[in-house]
Amino acid sequence: MKSICFYFQIHQPFRLKNYRFFDIGNDHYYYDDFANDEIITRIAHRCYLPANAMLLDIIKQYGKKFKVAFSISGTALEQLEQYVPEFIDSMQELAATGSVEFLSETYAHSLSSLHDPDEFVAQVKAHDAKIFQLFGQKPKVFRNTELIYDDDIASMVSAMGFKGAITDGAKHILGWRSPNFLYSSAAAPKLKLLLKNSKLSDDISFRFSNYNWESYPLTADKYIDWIAALPEEEQLVNLFMNYETLGELQPAETGIFEFIKALPRFAAEKNIKFVTPGEVLTKFKPVAALSVPFPMSWADEARDTSAWLGTMLQQEAVAKPYSIGERVRLCQDKRIKQDWNYLQASDHFFYMSTKHNSDGTVHSHYSPYGSPYTAFTNYMNVLSDFMTRVEAQYPAEIDNEELNALLLTIKNQEKEIEALNREVQLMRNNIVKDTTGDFPVEEEKPAPKPKKKTKKG
């Protein structure tokens, strides 16, 4: 019996406002509230809300026979909470049906997996906590930013306790093999891999409304027939796409909602099931181990990380913030922590790409900037200010270890003062006692007893 595994990605970055070099050191608010509000509200009303309503309808009609998975970045959740709270309600309603699974990812949709393992772990934890808080689920399957994946990431993800991960079925990795199987990681054999079926996914997300495509118009029965016609042993079809496909990339007028709505009916006719990534792990057996020595992703023609790290500008812009990563994690300042998250979003680096061919048009389509150079300048100006703030809290001359020790002292100092106060009190009492009693000398004994009891960090 064949199975379709649907997974939708929702992510929006906090776009930066026009931040001039005059502002460095003077203005510590970096975000273009107007644009962020406008964009998320528009997309929510064109896509997220109607699509959620549609999925809820389908699930009401087909019950547990229809299932989907979502991966929602922390920054997107924050914006939705702030600007479109009704979306959170409708998502909670979906979550309550039991047909929806939430995936794990980095909180900030960041590139930390490539640059800063500690930050990576911290962000995944932060994200999963947020998902649990909102939807009451503990994610079991991991999906990295833009499906970036390699052997090192596999080891980290596996070490965090995830049993499965999602990535792209890139041709240069798969070669002759088909993405329609469950694989496992060569570096971390316990980690199972679900690979995106690019052809069938892109048929929906990119080609659905293309008049020049020979398969236009794409109907649900035709699409299900294609899946049914796959070779007998290929049982798993992973359809991974941005949630914006429904209503934004493919506007409602193209009939995309009706298409999705009709899928379960034709799937049932052909005896095709819907599964979530978590179920795939239990129901399928991996057929082979995949080794991915160099990072791959689902972006651009090259399916590698060149969309964010292709040029010197991007490499510099990515490396700079992570050079102070450890420092920032020592910080207690909530504001700094928040900015740190927002500034890590991979989108900022995506805008800096200087690719000029067809990939370039994709980059500039999403970019709020006129040119990659403006994107770089603006980001670096913001980052300069951010770094001076971190520097102001913890001067760069003090190295991290020394700082750590000092911080521990500060953290414990309250308890220590309390202990010492108690000691003083005790001695005072003794002194009082002594004047009324006999000799004060032997009261020294209880003094060394209450020392450092707590040690957290």
Binding site: R20, I24, M312, L313, T354, S371, Y373, T377, N378, M380
Partner: protein
Amino acid sequence: MKALMFGWEFPPHILGGLGTASFGLTKGMIENGGLDITFVIPKPQGDEPKEYARIIGANCTPVVWRDVDYGYVEHRIGNVMHPEMYYSLRDHIYSDFGYIGTNDLGCIEFSGRYPDNLLEEINNYSIVAGVIARTIDFDVIHSHDWLTYPAGIHAKQLTGKPFVIHVHATDFDRSRGNVNPTVFSIEKDGMNQADHIITVSDLTRRTVIDKYRISPDKVTTVHNAVEPLSPELLNVEVPPKHDKVVTFLGRITMQKGPEYFVEAAAQVLQKMHNVQFVMAGGGDMMEKMIRLAARRHIADRFHFAGFLKGKEVYEMLKASDVYIMPSVSEPFGISPLEAMQMGVPSIISKQSGCAEILQNVIKVDYWDTNAMADAIYSILNYPAMYNELREHGLAEVDQIRWKKAGAKVLDIYRRLIG
């Protein structure tokens, strides 16, 4: 195929970009092969490169018959052109031009610059063109810029050969819209009479179509290019410097937008102090700019280097960290390409023609001094930005060759000749 070209400037004696572009194009066309070019200029000095075109000086072309012996002609103009040419030109004098005033060889004197009696000089140039067109054999006429349009029209009327004009600039660019009616009418006349019009950018093409009301199918854009620099120029020595240098190179006139550069400099200096701003060139707005710099209290960091020529230009570029061209209207603008060849990151206005073909530069609106200041600050402060623009700029400008531009012009010739 033989082409008769009329130009006003030719290296090494150049006053602006026109001479550089005319020469580059000539060379690029010859490199494609199958072409002979005769290039007419008002006043050759004799040290012009002769390997790509046969040079005829308008001031060496007799319009009044004088009986002079071979030795004397060779003595007078031998360094410019062959005496035999003088004699064959002399055989084609077509009218009596004694009233104009000629020298001992029967030639009209030219300044070869842009004098006050420019219109008279243009007229004389077209009289000379009549003699030349009667003398030499050619298949196509090619006039560079409005000064030589009347000469080209004259040659076309005489011979009926196809006439191409090359628009390096229009008066709309030079005057920010306040066109000189006389210049406009000469330009318009040239465009009407031309069989084909070549513009140096799509920006100029639009001006020709919209402002001069020329049919679009008669106008083709052939972007300018640059010659690879010699190793000697690439490796010029410059004294060590302590401060960053931001450079503006060009005539200090309304067209080049110098005031925007001063305003942007004033902004950058509010935040940084180890920067020097240099404005190299001369022009009618220079004093105004000096006063503006003083009014913004940045005179100590803002320098006027005067007109630079030859090697000095490359020394200045070599010493620069940023090159800026904030032109209000620039038909093409070769200088940023030269800066890129020297590895200097460039900021150019979106209103310049070269912005159409350059990718690895920062483009801003000429009036947007905020964006300009941001870009300067970014290049000076973020090494990745500097390196990216520098290295990709070098690679990019390497691909912009005159040979390709020459091939496009040859295509146009072939279509016209049939």
